[in-house]
Symmetry: C2
Subunit: 355 residues, 2 copies
Amino acid sequence: MEKKITVLPGDGIGPEVVAAAIRVLKVVAKKYNHDFQLAYAAIGGAAIDQFQDPLPEETIETCKQSDAILLGAVGGPKWDNNPAELRPEKGLLRIRKVFDLYANLRPVKAFPSLLDASPLKREVAENVDLMIVRELTGGIYFGEKKRSETEASDLNIYNREEIERIVDNAFELARVRRGRLCSVDKANVLETSRLWRQIVEEKKEHYSDVTVEHNLVDSVAMKLITNPGHYDVVVTDNMFGDILSDEASVITGSLGVLPSASIRSDSFGLYEPVHGSAPEIAGQQIANPAATILSVAMMLHYSFGLQEEAAEIERAVNAVFEDGHYTADLVKDGGIALSTDEWTDKVIAEIDTNF
Amino acid sequence: MEKKITVLPGDGIGPEVVAAAIRVLKVVAKKYNHDFQLAYAAIGGAAIDQFQDPLPEETIETCKQSDAILLGAVGGPKWDNNPAELRPEKGLLRIRKVFDLYANLRPVKAFPSLLDASPLKREVAENVDLMIVRELTGGIYFGEKKRSETEASDLNIYNREEIERIVDNAFELARVRRGRLCSVDKANVLETSRLWRQIVEEKKEHYSDVTVEHNLVDSVAMKLITNPGHYDVVVTDNMFGDILSDEASVITGSLGVLPSASIRSDSFGLYEPVHGSAPEIAGQQIANPAATILSVAMMLHYSFGLQEEAAEIERAVNAVFEDGHYTADLVKDGGIALSTDEWTDKVIAEIDTNF
Ligand SMILES: CC(C)[C@H](C(=O)O)[C@@H](O)C(=O)O
Ligand SMILES: CC(C)[C@H](C(=O)O)[C@@H](O)C(=O)O
């Protein structure tokens, strides 16, 4: 298979973890005989420094000519006091909108060997295997904003099509997972939530193999902690998804290893680790590349339909953890922390062994 | 001291836990020589059944003639399919607005004897002692709502005065607590959040004894789980406050014992347990009255300025837990669950002993 991938290393530890993930990608390409062509471009703070724009036109053009995007991370103290339009995360918000990447998929799965790092009791966190599906290009993020000296407002707005397509994605995912969907809203207060709930009700007729529940966002915020094992697929709007997916990301102790996908209906997508740019440890070769490596696996799965290759990467990452190899963020008392590259070598060895 | 209190038992376990709390209130009144006059009125489902209105005019009148309100809980399956205006929680939303109860205070404190019930590891939850201050009468809850066949919207809107007064409340609370304030917003996306953040920055000049940090809502959703002990006072808007206060309520394992206050600038306030109406266990005398009893303590403290009396109730509740007495929701393996009234008797005995 031939595919073009745009690589956006970004800021902080972004370049290091992306470099590690690309090494893994190349090994997989060789093993399975694929031809992945890479084009590098700038985003975030790096793009502000070079082009005075967190998402330069050049970058958009490069992405347009590719089949998928791999992103490291954006942001850092250097740009924290910039005006809104020159903030690194503006690049992220714009790339989502420009490419209509409306479906944000964030799987959270407990790695048994990482549970010691979870703030939750082992028995609460151990069976977690959920997927948050967040609407990413609508709602209060992109509705009209107003500001005067004495008043400010943000419009939370959704139309039928925006909700229908994300709800369809969530049903399709539930169907190939454990067949359970939890739709999260605030229907006792918000009009957008009432439309959302109505559409989920309409859609469920077409997915009779999926069990659906509606739950209020405040109640889910509790249950994600008291009983996270309850959830399979969770679908929600942009703002609630932002909060709940971050909340969910810490329950298994594996924030540093969580990948994400932001996809469009034709399977074009952007893949990035859930963690941030961690400027305080950048350039030291101590960052954990697992989340970015697993983001590459999601790319192979969701954008290229290469299930076997994706599974191979996931298996390798899991095996390296099971063998007790960790980077500094996860190393246990008395253990030795591997560098970013050393840990990546272990993953590559796992894949190579199986040639 | 002479005070008038309106009592709104509400639905489900509301009447039982309110009855228990009133017994405690009467003992405190006797011990400290106060005269609390009680007037009962209807709210929620009970009011819908009797008056076809979740907040009848009679109830509003009764509340207007009192110095504080004690509420049990509202809601239940019986009214779940009612139209929006005839839903029990509409009574709650309206009473907040009618009486301008803009400051919702929700303390979360770890009771050492209850930590086994926490989903978090003991070392993560044990030092938690935080107070969420939620703006309760503005924002997306009360902004203009629109709905057509194909589109729905909710306006998130705040003006300067609404933000200033809640931020002042939070600073005042931080000052008499541990002197730390975390203001939560989504300033990288929302215009309302940018106004919010600006006002916190302006206000902090007047509270030089308080240390302030700004944090994004998604980041706080994580940190409330990974490091809840970090927080002292947390102030945020209505929607974020709804989610974060519920999230915070489960971290110590003591959801069933958490009180809340919703107050106005002149110290008039409504006090209620954080838990819901739990219709499935209503009428069985097994509900935990601790949250409502502690809500009475908050009433004494915040509406009547009776710090000593409030502290006496808190001390008594704590002592009963320390002595190993629990209702069914908290009882440990092999322990005996006390009924609602039996557990309340223990609290009263604690207070009586100290006459
Ligand atoms: C950086 C920020 C604008 C962004 C968001 O809120 O969507 C981030 O929190 C995320 O979840 O990807
Ligand atoms: C019942 C509901 C409208 C209410 C709210 O969202 O404010 C509740 O969740 C609360 O927090 O008191």
